[in-house]
Symmetry: C2
Protein backbone atom coordinates (compact mmCIF):
# COMPACT_ATOMS: atom_id res chain seq x y z
CA UNK A 1 0.00 0.00 0.00
CA UNK A 2 1.65 3.19 -1.15
CA UNK A 3 0.39 6.45 0.18
CA UNK A 4 0.20 8.71 -2.83
CA UNK A 5 -2.91 10.13 -1.25
CA UNK A 6 -1.11 13.45 -1.60
CA UNK A 7 -1.81 16.31 0.72
CA UNK A 8 -5.07 15.91 2.54
CA UNK A 9 -5.61 19.57 3.22
CA UNK A 10 -5.87 20.86 -0.34
CA UNK A 11 -9.39 20.34 -1.70
CA UNK A 12 -7.79 20.61 -5.14
CA UNK A 13 -9.31 22.16 -8.21
CA UNK A 14 -11.95 19.60 -9.09
CA UNK A 15 -13.20 20.58 -12.50
CA UNK A 16 -16.76 19.97 -13.46
CA UNK A 17 -16.57 16.59 -15.16
CA UNK A 18 -19.92 14.94 -14.49
CA UNK A 19 -18.54 11.41 -14.44
CA UNK A 20 -15.85 12.48 -12.03
CA UNK A 21 -18.46 13.87 -9.68
CA UNK A 22 -20.47 10.66 -10.00
CA UNK A 23 -17.42 8.66 -9.01
CA UNK A 24 -16.55 10.93 -6.09
CA UNK A 25 -20.11 10.93 -4.82
CA UNK A 26 -20.43 7.18 -5.08
CA UNK A 27 -17.11 6.64 -3.36
CA UNK A 28 -17.88 9.04 -0.54
CA UNK A 29 -21.18 7.35 0.18
CA UNK A 30 -19.62 3.90 0.22
CA UNK A 31 -16.56 4.83 2.25
CA UNK A 32 -18.58 6.68 4.88
CA UNK A 33 -21.05 3.84 5.18
CA UNK A 34 -18.65 0.90 5.16
CA UNK A 35 -15.13 2.12 5.86
CA UNK A 36 -12.03 1.99 3.72
CA UNK A 37 -11.24 -1.71 3.68
CA UNK A 38 -14.77 -2.94 3.08
CA UNK A 39 -15.25 -0.95 -0.12
CA UNK A 40 -13.96 -2.31 -3.41
CA UNK A 41 -13.16 -0.33 -6.51
CA UNK A 42 -15.61 -2.60 -8.30
CA UNK A 43 -18.37 -1.37 -6.02
CA UNK A 44 -17.38 2.27 -6.53
CA UNK A 45 -17.38 1.86 -10.30
CA UNK A 46 -20.68 -0.02 -10.31
CA UNK A 47 -22.38 2.52 -8.01
CA UNK A 48 -21.08 5.41 -10.08
CA UNK A 49 -22.20 3.73 -13.30
CA UNK A 50 -18.77 3.72 -14.90
CA UNK A 51 -16.17 1.10 -15.64
CA UNK A 52 -13.27 0.36 -13.40
CA UNK A 53 -10.88 1.54 -16.08
CA UNK A 54 -12.53 4.96 -16.09
CA UNK A 55 -12.25 5.08 -12.34
CA UNK A 56 -8.54 4.35 -12.54
CA UNK A 57 -8.16 6.92 -15.31
CA UNK A 58 -9.20 9.60 -12.82
CA UNK A 59 -7.69 8.28 -9.61
CA UNK A 60 -4.34 6.60 -9.51
CA UNK A 61 -5.29 4.16 -6.76
CA UNK A 62 -7.87 3.37 -4.14
CA UNK A 63 -5.75 5.19 -1.57
CA UNK A 64 -5.57 8.30 -3.73
CA UNK A 65 -9.33 8.33 -4.24
CA UNK A 66 -9.89 7.90 -0.54
CA UNK A 67 -7.43 10.62 0.37
CA UNK A 68 -8.96 13.12 -2.04
CA UNK A 69 -12.44 12.47 -0.65
CA UNK A 70 -11.37 12.80 2.93
CA UNK A 71 -9.65 16.08 2.12
CA UNK A 72 -12.95 17.38 0.78
CA UNK A 73 -14.81 16.08 3.79
CA UNK A 74 -12.38 17.35 6.38
CA UNK A 75 -12.54 20.89 5.08
CA UNK A 76 -16.27 20.91 5.82
CA UNK A 77 -16.11 19.65 9.36
CA UNK A 78 -17.08 22.95 10.96
CA UNK A 79 -20.61 23.80 12.01
CA UNK A 80 -22.01 26.91 10.33
CA UNK A 81 -21.04 29.96 12.31
CA UNK A 82 -23.91 32.37 11.62
CA UNK A 83 -24.51 34.27 14.83
CA UNK A 84 -23.03 31.64 17.07
CA UNK A 85 -20.37 33.89 18.57
CA UNK A 86 -22.06 37.19 19.41
CA UNK A 87 -19.61 39.73 20.76
CA UNK A 88 -21.98 41.14 23.34
CA UNK A 89 -24.63 39.17 25.15
CA UNK A 90 -26.89 40.14 27.99
CA UNK A 91 -26.96 36.63 29.44
CA UNK A 92 -24.39 33.93 28.84
CA UNK A 93 -26.79 31.00 29.15
CA UNK A 94 -28.84 31.36 25.95
CA UNK A 95 -25.69 32.11 23.97
CA UNK A 96 -24.03 28.98 25.33
CA UNK A 97 -27.12 26.90 24.66
CA UNK A 98 -27.22 28.07 21.06
CA UNK A 99 -23.53 27.45 20.59
CA UNK A 100 -23.60 24.13 22.40
CA UNK A 101 -26.71 22.91 20.64
CA UNK A 102 -25.31 23.68 17.24
CA UNK A 103 -21.98 22.10 18.07
CA UNK A 104 -23.35 18.92 19.60
CA UNK A 105 -25.90 18.46 16.81
CA UNK A 106 -23.10 18.82 14.31
CA UNK A 107 -20.98 16.19 16.02
CA UNK A 108 -23.93 13.79 16.19
CA UNK A 109 -24.60 14.02 12.46
CA UNK A 110 -24.05 10.73 10.70
CA UNK A 111 -21.54 12.15 8.23
CA UNK A 112 -19.45 13.69 10.99
CA UNK A 113 -19.52 10.43 12.94
CA UNK A 114 -18.65 8.48 9.82
CA UNK A 115 -15.56 10.57 9.13
CA UNK A 116 -14.54 10.36 12.76
CA UNK A 117 -14.93 6.57 12.70
CA UNK A 118 -12.87 6.26 9.56
CA UNK A 119 -10.20 8.69 10.73
CA UNK A 120 -9.85 6.65 13.93
CA UNK A 121 -9.92 3.27 12.27
CA UNK A 122 -7.47 4.24 9.54
CA UNK A 123 -5.19 6.38 11.70
CA UNK A 124 -2.47 3.77 11.29
CA UNK A 125 -2.72 3.43 7.49
CA UNK A 126 -3.54 7.11 6.93
CA UNK A 127 -2.05 9.22 9.71
CA UNK A 128 -2.48 12.30 7.54
CA UNK A 129 -6.22 11.75 7.54
CA UNK A 130 -6.45 11.69 11.32
CA UNK A 131 -4.33 14.82 11.56
CA UNK A 132 -6.31 16.65 8.89
CA UNK A 133 -9.64 15.77 10.46
CA UNK A 134 -8.49 16.88 13.87
CA UNK A 135 -6.93 20.11 12.64
CA UNK A 136 -9.84 21.08 10.38
CA UNK A 137 -12.59 20.04 12.78
CA UNK A 138 -12.17 19.87 16.54
CA UNK A 139 -9.14 22.15 16.74
CA UNK A 140 -10.78 24.97 14.83
CA UNK A 141 -14.06 24.64 16.69
CA UNK A 142 -12.17 24.76 19.96
CA UNK A 143 -10.15 27.79 18.90
CA UNK A 144 -13.24 29.79 17.98
CA UNK A 145 -14.92 28.86 21.22
CA UNK A 146 -11.82 29.72 23.22
CA UNK A 147 -11.58 33.13 21.61
CA UNK A 148 -15.23 33.84 22.25
CA UNK A 149 -14.91 32.78 25.88
CA UNK A 150 -11.89 35.06 26.26
CA UNK A 151 -14.00 37.86 24.84
CA UNK A 152 -16.76 37.20 27.33
CA UNK A 153 -14.18 37.03 30.06
CA UNK A 154 -12.94 40.48 29.10
CA UNK A 155 -16.55 41.64 29.27
CA UNK A 156 -16.77 40.36 32.82
CA UNK A 157 -19.11 37.48 32.10
CA UNK A 158 -16.63 34.70 32.82
CA UNK A 159 -14.61 34.11 35.95
CA UNK A 160 -11.49 36.27 35.68
CA UNK A 161 -9.09 33.57 36.81
CA UNK A 162 -10.32 30.92 34.35
CA UNK A 163 -8.17 29.86 31.44
CA UNK A 164 -10.20 30.25 28.23
CA UNK A 165 -8.50 27.26 26.65
CA UNK A 166 -9.48 25.00 29.53
CA UNK A 167 -12.95 26.50 29.73
CA UNK A 168 -13.50 25.81 26.04
CA UNK A 169 -12.21 22.26 26.30
CA UNK A 170 -14.42 21.58 29.29
CA UNK A 171 -17.45 22.95 27.46
CA UNK A 172 -16.79 20.54 24.59
CA UNK A 173 -16.18 17.70 27.01
CA UNK A 174 -19.43 18.35 28.83
CA UNK A 175 -21.32 18.50 25.55
CA UNK A 176 -19.85 15.15 24.51
CA UNK A 177 -20.35 13.55 27.90
CA UNK A 178 -23.69 11.87 27.42
CA UNK A 179 -24.80 11.12 23.91
CA UNK A 180 -21.54 11.18 22.02
CA UNK A 181 -19.98 7.88 23.06
CA UNK A 182 -23.18 6.00 22.25
CA UNK A 183 -23.42 7.73 18.91
CA UNK A 184 -19.87 6.90 17.92
CA UNK A 185 -20.61 3.25 18.60
CA UNK A 186 -23.80 3.43 16.56
CA UNK A 187 -25.88 2.20 19.47
CA UNK A 188 -29.65 2.54 19.16
CA UNK A 189 -31.69 4.48 19.80
CA UNK A 190 -30.25 7.46 17.99
CA UNK A 191 -30.44 10.66 19.99
CA UNK A 192 -33.55 12.73 19.34
CA UNK A 193 -34.07 16.43 19.54
CA UNK A 194 -35.34 16.41 23.10
CA UNK A 195 -32.41 14.28 24.29
CA UNK A 196 -29.97 16.67 22.70
CA UNK A 197 -31.66 19.72 24.18
CA UNK A 198 -31.54 18.12 27.61
CA UNK A 199 -27.87 17.21 27.24
CA UNK A 200 -27.00 20.71 26.11
CA UNK A 201 -28.94 22.32 28.96
CA UNK A 202 -27.19 20.07 31.46
CA UNK A 203 -23.77 20.78 30.04
CA UNK A 204 -24.36 24.52 29.99
CA UNK A 205 -25.67 24.41 33.53
CA UNK A 206 -22.58 22.65 34.83
CA UNK A 207 -20.29 24.89 32.80
CA UNK A 208 -21.92 28.06 34.14
CA UNK A 209 -21.62 26.85 37.72
CA UNK A 210 -17.92 26.36 37.15
CA UNK A 211 -17.03 29.28 34.94
CA UNK A 212 -19.63 32.07 35.17
CA UNK A 213 -18.37 35.20 36.88
CA UNK A 214 -21.72 35.80 38.49
CA UNK A 215 -23.55 32.67 39.58
CA UNK A 216 -27.13 33.63 38.89
CA UNK A 217 -29.09 31.73 41.41
Amino acid sequence: MHHDAATLDAPAAVEASPKRRQMLDAARGLFLAQGYGAVSMDAVARTAGVSKATLYAHFASKAALFGMLMAEGCSQMLPPEENLFPAEVADLRPALEALGGRTLRFMLREDWLAIYRIAMAESVRFPELAHSFHANGPVRTLARTRDWIAQQQAAGKVRADAEPEVAAQHLMGLLRSTLFLRATLGLPPAAEGADIDRAVAGAVDTWLRAFAADPDR
Copy 2:
Protein backbone atom coordinates in the same frame (compact mmCIF):
# COMPACT_ATOMS: atom_id res chain seq x y z
CA MET B 1 -20.25 -12.75 5.91
CA HIS B 2 -22.18 -14.80 8.43
CA HIS B 3 -22.17 -13.75 12.02
CA ASP B 4 -21.68 -16.91 13.94
CA ALA B 5 -19.60 -14.87 16.32
CA ALA B 6 -21.96 -16.20 18.94
CA THR B 7 -22.60 -14.28 22.10
CA LEU B 8 -19.93 -11.74 22.79
CA ASP B 9 -20.49 -11.62 26.51
CA ALA B 10 -19.57 -15.20 27.36
CA PRO B 11 -15.79 -15.55 27.68
CA ALA B 12 -16.40 -19.27 27.15
CA ALA B 13 -14.52 -22.09 28.72
CA VAL B 14 -11.20 -21.84 26.95
CA GLU B 15 -9.29 -24.92 27.88
CA ALA B 16 -5.55 -24.83 28.17
CA SER B 17 -4.47 -25.90 24.73
CA PRO B 18 -1.15 -24.18 24.12
CA LYS B 19 -1.62 -23.85 20.37
CA ARG B 20 -5.04 -22.42 20.90
CA ARG B 21 -3.62 -19.77 23.18
CA GLN B 22 -0.91 -19.01 20.62
CA MET B 23 -3.55 -18.47 17.99
CA LEU B 24 -5.72 -16.30 20.20
CA ASP B 25 -2.77 -14.21 21.32
CA ALA B 26 -1.52 -13.72 17.78
CA ALA B 27 -4.98 -12.83 16.55
CA ARG B 28 -5.60 -10.35 19.35
CA GLY B 29 -2.34 -8.55 18.69
CA LEU B 30 -3.01 -8.31 14.98
CA PHE B 31 -6.65 -7.30 15.24
CA LEU B 32 -5.96 -4.62 17.83
CA ALA B 33 -3.08 -3.21 15.83
CA GLN B 34 -4.61 -3.33 12.36
CA GLY B 35 -8.36 -3.73 12.64
CA TYR B 36 -10.61 -6.52 11.44
CA GLY B 37 -10.44 -6.11 7.69
CA ALA B 38 -6.71 -5.59 7.42
CA VAL B 39 -5.82 -8.87 9.11
CA SER B 40 -5.78 -12.09 7.12
CA MET B 41 -6.13 -15.58 8.47
CA ASP B 42 -2.80 -16.31 6.79
CA ALA B 43 -1.19 -13.65 8.94
CA VAL B 44 -2.80 -14.99 12.09
CA ALA B 45 -1.64 -18.52 11.34
CA ARG B 46 1.87 -17.39 10.44
CA THR B 47 2.21 -15.21 13.54
CA ALA B 48 0.90 -18.00 15.75
CA GLY B 49 3.26 -20.50 14.14
CA VAL B 50 0.54 -22.90 13.02
CA SER B 51 -1.06 -23.77 9.72
CA LYS B 52 -4.24 -22.24 8.50
CA ALA B 53 -5.94 -25.62 8.68
CA THR B 54 -5.21 -25.79 12.39
CA LEU B 55 -6.58 -22.31 12.82
CA TYR B 56 -9.80 -23.31 11.09
CA ALA B 57 -9.96 -26.48 13.15
CA HIS B 58 -10.33 -24.31 16.25
CA PHE B 59 -12.33 -21.40 14.90
CA ALA B 60 -15.08 -21.84 12.38
CA SER B 61 -14.42 -18.55 10.63
CA LYS B 62 -12.58 -15.28 10.82
CA ALA B 63 -15.69 -13.63 12.26
CA ALA B 64 -15.99 -16.29 14.97
CA LEU B 65 -12.35 -15.86 15.96
CA PHE B 66 -12.77 -12.11 16.08
CA GLY B 67 -15.97 -12.32 18.11
CA MET B 68 -14.44 -14.67 20.67
CA LEU B 69 -11.46 -12.37 21.14
CA MET B 70 -13.55 -9.27 21.52
CA ALA B 71 -15.70 -11.04 24.10
CA GLU B 72 -12.57 -11.74 26.12
CA GLY B 73 -11.38 -8.18 25.71
CA CYS B 74 -14.66 -6.51 26.52
CA SER B 75 -15.00 -8.33 29.80
CA GLN B 76 -11.76 -6.73 30.93
CA MET B 77 -12.58 -3.16 30.03
CA LEU B 78 -12.92 -1.97 33.63
CA PRO B 79 -10.13 -0.27 35.52
CA PRO B 80 -9.10 -2.06 38.71
CA GLU B 81 -11.27 -0.91 41.58
CA GLU B 82 -8.99 -1.28 44.57
CA ASN B 83 -9.78 1.60 46.90
CA LEU B 84 -11.15 3.84 44.20
CA PHE B 85 -14.57 4.25 45.76
CA PRO B 86 -14.02 4.91 49.48
CA ALA B 87 -17.30 5.18 51.35
CA GLU B 88 -16.14 7.96 53.61
CA VAL B 89 -13.69 10.66 52.65
CA ALA B 90 -12.60 13.77 54.48
CA ASP B 91 -12.11 15.75 51.30
CA LEU B 92 -13.68 15.03 47.95
CA ARG B 93 -10.83 16.40 45.84
CA PRO B 94 -8.13 13.77 46.43
CA ALA B 95 -10.68 11.00 46.08
CA LEU B 96 -11.85 12.42 42.77
CA GLU B 97 -8.30 12.89 41.56
CA ALA B 98 -7.47 9.27 42.35
CA LEU B 99 -10.64 8.03 40.68
CA GLY B 100 -10.27 10.36 37.71
CA GLY B 101 -6.59 9.65 37.22
CA ARG B 102 -7.15 5.91 37.25
CA THR B 103 -10.10 6.16 34.90
CA LEU B 104 -8.47 8.49 32.38
CA ARG B 105 -5.23 6.52 32.38
CA PHE B 106 -7.23 3.40 31.69
CA MET B 107 -9.05 4.97 28.75
CA LEU B 108 -5.78 6.24 27.31
CA ARG B 109 -4.19 2.81 27.33
CA GLU B 110 -3.42 1.56 23.85
CA ASP B 111 -5.40 -1.65 24.28
CA TRP B 112 -8.49 0.21 25.46
CA LEU B 113 -8.18 2.65 22.55
CA ALA B 114 -7.66 -0.20 20.13
CA ILE B 115 -10.83 -1.97 21.19
CA TYR B 116 -12.74 1.30 21.09
CA ARG B 117 -11.45 1.98 17.57
CA ILE B 118 -12.43 -1.46 16.38
CA ALA B 119 -15.81 -1.40 18.10
CA MET B 120 -16.53 1.92 16.37
CA ALA B 121 -15.19 0.95 12.99
CA GLU B 122 -16.95 -2.41 12.95
CA SER B 123 -20.18 -1.26 14.59
CA VAL B 124 -21.96 -1.84 11.28
CA ARG B 125 -20.58 -5.32 10.62
CA PHE B 126 -20.57 -6.35 14.30
CA PRO B 127 -23.22 -4.39 16.21
CA GLU B 128 -22.97 -6.90 19.05
CA LEU B 129 -19.36 -5.91 19.57
CA ALA B 130 -20.17 -2.23 19.97
CA HIS B 131 -22.96 -3.07 22.39
CA SER B 132 -20.84 -5.44 24.41
CA PHE B 133 -17.96 -3.00 24.65
CA HIS B 134 -20.24 -0.20 25.75
CA ALA B 135 -22.12 -2.30 28.29
CA ASN B 136 -19.04 -3.92 29.77
CA GLY B 137 -16.89 -0.80 29.79
CA PRO B 138 -18.27 2.73 29.88
CA VAL B 139 -21.70 1.81 31.25
CA ARG B 140 -20.33 -0.11 34.21
CA THR B 141 -17.70 2.51 34.97
CA LEU B 142 -20.38 5.17 34.89
CA ALA B 143 -22.70 3.15 37.14
CA ARG B 144 -20.05 2.67 39.80
CA THR B 145 -19.15 6.34 39.70
CA ARG B 146 -22.79 7.38 39.88
CA ASP B 147 -23.40 5.19 42.91
CA TRP B 148 -20.35 6.55 44.66
CA ILE B 149 -21.40 10.12 43.93
CA ALA B 150 -24.86 9.37 45.31
CA GLN B 151 -23.17 8.03 48.41
CA GLN B 152 -21.14 11.20 48.80
CA GLN B 153 -24.26 13.22 48.19
CA ALA B 154 -25.97 11.43 51.05
CA ALA B 155 -22.93 12.25 53.17
CA GLY B 156 -23.39 15.93 52.38
CA LYS B 157 -20.32 16.29 50.18
CA VAL B 158 -22.19 16.83 46.93
CA ARG B 159 -24.81 19.43 46.12
CA ALA B 160 -28.16 18.08 47.29
CA ASP B 161 -30.04 19.04 44.12
CA ALA B 162 -27.57 17.42 41.73
CA GLU B 163 -28.52 14.30 39.82
CA PRO B 164 -25.83 11.65 40.45
CA GLU B 165 -26.26 10.26 36.95
CA VAL B 166 -25.60 13.63 35.34
CA ALA B 167 -22.78 14.39 37.77
CA ALA B 168 -21.09 11.12 36.89
CA GLN B 169 -21.50 11.66 33.16
CA HIS B 170 -20.10 15.15 33.42
CA LEU B 171 -17.11 13.92 35.39
CA MET B 172 -16.36 11.43 32.62
CA GLY B 173 -16.91 14.08 29.98
CA LEU B 174 -14.55 16.47 31.69
CA LEU B 175 -11.91 13.78 32.01
CA ARG B 176 -12.19 12.99 28.30
CA SER B 177 -12.29 16.62 27.26
CA THR B 178 -8.64 17.26 26.54
CA LEU B 179 -6.46 14.29 25.76
CA PHE B 180 -8.98 11.68 24.73
CA LEU B 181 -9.93 12.86 21.25
CA ARG B 182 -6.29 13.18 20.24
CA ALA B 183 -5.54 9.75 21.63
CA THR B 184 -8.39 8.08 19.75
CA LEU B 185 -7.00 9.53 16.54
CA GLY B 186 -3.51 8.32 17.38
CA LEU B 187 -2.08 11.81 17.09
CA PRO B 188 1.42 12.35 18.43
CA PRO B 189 2.67 13.12 20.90
CA ALA B 190 1.13 10.55 23.18
CA ALA B 191 0.01 11.97 26.48
CA GLU B 192 2.58 11.73 29.24
CA GLY B 193 2.12 11.42 32.95
CA ALA B 194 2.33 15.13 33.65
CA ASP B 195 -0.22 15.94 30.92
CA ILE B 196 -2.62 13.43 32.37
CA ASP B 197 -2.20 14.74 35.90
CA ARG B 198 -2.88 18.26 34.69
CA ALA B 199 -5.97 17.17 32.77
CA VAL B 200 -7.31 15.28 35.76
CA ALA B 201 -6.68 18.20 38.12
CA GLY B 202 -8.46 20.57 35.75
CA ALA B 203 -11.42 18.25 35.34
CA VAL B 204 -11.75 17.71 39.07
CA ASP B 205 -11.49 21.43 39.69
CA THR B 206 -14.30 22.23 37.28
CA TRP B 207 -16.41 19.36 38.58
CA LEU B 208 -16.03 20.48 42.18
CA ARG B 209 -17.01 24.04 41.31
CA ALA B 210 -20.18 22.71 39.76
CA PHE B 211 -21.10 19.88 42.08
CA ALA B 212 -19.42 20.24 45.47
CA ALA B 213 -21.80 21.02 48.30
CA ASP B 214 -19.26 23.26 49.97
CA PRO B 215 -17.19 25.25 47.49
CA ASP B 216 -13.86 25.39 49.26
CA ARG B 217 -12.27 28.51 47.88
